[in-house]
Structure formats: structure tokens, C-alpha cells
Amino acid sequence: MSRPLESGAEYARDIRRRRERGFMIAAVVFGVGAVLWFLFWILVALFAFSLGPFVGLVLVLVAFGGAVIPAGTAYLCFRVARPAPFPGDIAIEPEEPIRGQSVQIRVIRHGLGGRAAGCDVGLVAVERYDVQTTDGDGNTHRGTSQAEHTAQWARVEATAGEETLEMQIPADGPFSYEGDAVAYRWRLEARVHRRMRPDRRAVVPIWVRP
């Protein structure tokens, strides 16, 4: 029942690892696909120019046009794997709140960019629990699932500046706990929503005492 000091950091690493694994593979696959598509059609276009400029030009457009979609998908996957950092800083006081306690959340925002559609700051609690899973061969494995337990969000200005918010840790919510079969994890999170682009996020794990 002792508190693992690195529980929050381990949680953040966990999220990063899972993202990196899946989305980075997808980014590489789509990226390589885009390059191969582009090179193939450019080579064909070079050959086609000898037949006539119009056919060559059309094939150059095919090379660019066809590469845009997988290249864009590769970029999106890369950004999900490695989210753009939050342009600022967030902090909570006290750092180890007690359930039912009010907390002060300080949000420092540098330039959020013209595409910022809004900035949300929230306290999120997640429950993680071990489950038994069965693979295609009928072998059973012990895995971990998670679900959001509590989340409260506040909208702050999407412009540069500093703001202090007050929120309350729910008295009937979970306390931070790291066990063998069950864990409850809290985090402070800030998200800058950007039009047509992935959110910029900052996550600060926090330890909520019972």
C-alpha cells in the first residue's frame, strides 16, 4: 500500500509508450507509402514528358496529389504519437490535495497561435483495473483496462496570459492508489484545441490523498 513515488511519471510514460508504438508505426507506414507513391509517379512523369508535356504535367499532379493524403495521415499519426507540447505551463496547489479540498490551478499560456479555438483545463481521475483477456488461440492473459472515473473541465481564454482557477477534488471521488489489480490515478490536464490540427496537451500527474 506504500505510495510508489514515480506512479504519476510511470503513468505518463505508459501513455507515451502506447501512443508511440501504434501511431509511430502507422506514421512510418503512411510516410513511406507517400514517398514511394511520389517517387514512382515522378519517374513515370519524367518518362511521360518525353511523350508530351501535357501527359507529364498530369502525372506530376498525380504524384503530388496522391502523396498528400498518406503524407497528411502520417503527420497526424506522428502528432498523436508525439503531441505538440502545450505552449505554457500548468501547476496545482497544493500538490497533494485531499479529497474534498479546493485546489488552485495556475495556467500560464504563451502564444497559443491564431488557430487556437479554445483552451480547457481539467482534473481527471481514471480507474485502472486488471482483466483477463483471451487471445485468438484461446490463451488467457492478464491485462489492464482503464476508464475515466471523474472529469471536471473549465474553459480559459485561448490568448496568451496567466490565469488562476479554483476547482474542488470531489469528496466522494477516488483517492490516488497504485495496487496490483486496481489503480486510481489523477491528473491535471490542459488542452489547446486547434482547428484542423491535433490538440496541444499538457499532463501533470497529481496524488490525491484520501
Binding site: M1, E127, Y129, D130, V131, Q132, R142, S145, A147, H149, P174, F175, Y177, G179, D180, A181, V182, Y184, P210
Partner: protein, 115 residues
């Protein structure tokens, strides 16, 4: 086989949990024990995070109708119980007869809250 009851609920960390075990029918084993446990429960698994075990309350044959008193202390840093949609944490009293083969257990969930 064993009927467990406690009094003075709810409990707080550091409290003594007083209770009694009534033996329903004759039992024979090496010893009769009782423990407080902090249990993590997920949909498919159950783990014990903390355990406080008594000294044997009885040894050898225990005739039906015997009543055994016990008092176990919760740790001073005991966490409270908590239940969510998919998981729970709770304290329980577990009384069992240590014998050959499967030990018969009787468990009772405790209400532990912070003061």
C-alpha cells in the same frame, strides 16, 4: 461453518475491530485464525494489499456452538474503502480453519472511513 460478526462499525484507521466467531458445526483443524485484509477487486482478479493476522483463536477440535472473541487493530495508515464502476478497495474480516485440504473461509466486509 463459521459465522463472523463485528461491532462498532464504521471503523477508522488505528481502530480496534472487535468481533466474534460462532462455530456452526464441529470443526477439526490445526488452528482457527482471523485476519483483517485490504482487498483490491477488479472484474476478474482479487489481490490482498495489506494483511493483519491474529494469533490462533483455537487449535484442534472446536465443537459446534463455540463462540470465540477477537480484536484486531487496523493499521494507523489504513486507507478507506472505495467502490467505482469496475473496481473496488475494501477491508474485510476473514475467519478460516487451517486444515488439510481446502480451508473453509468466512469473510465479512468492513466499513472503514477516515475520521
Amino acid at each position: 461453518v463459521l459465522d463472523v460478526s463485528v461491532s462498532d462499525e464504521p471503523f477508522a484507521p488505528g481502530d480496534t475491530v472487535p468481533g466474534q466467531i460462532v462455530v456452526d458445526r464441529d470443526v477439526s483443524g490445526r488452528e482457527l485464525l482471523v485476519a483483517l485484509r485490504y482487498i483490491e477487486t477488479s472484474p476478474d482478479f482479487k489481490e490482498c494489499a495489506v494483511e493483519v493476522v491474529s494469533t490462533p483463536l483455537a487449535q484442534g477440535e472446536v465443537p459446534a456452538g463455540t463462540t470465540l472473541e477477537f480484536a484486531l487493530d487496523l493499521p494507523t495508515d489504513a486507507l478507506p474503502g472505495f467502490r467505482s464502476e469496475h473496481a473496488s478497495l475494501h477491508w474485510e474480516v476473514d475467519a478460516w480453519v487451517n486444515k488439510r485440504g481446502l480451508d473453509p473461509h468466512t469473510r465479512l466486509e468492513l466499513d472503514v472511513r477516515l475520521p
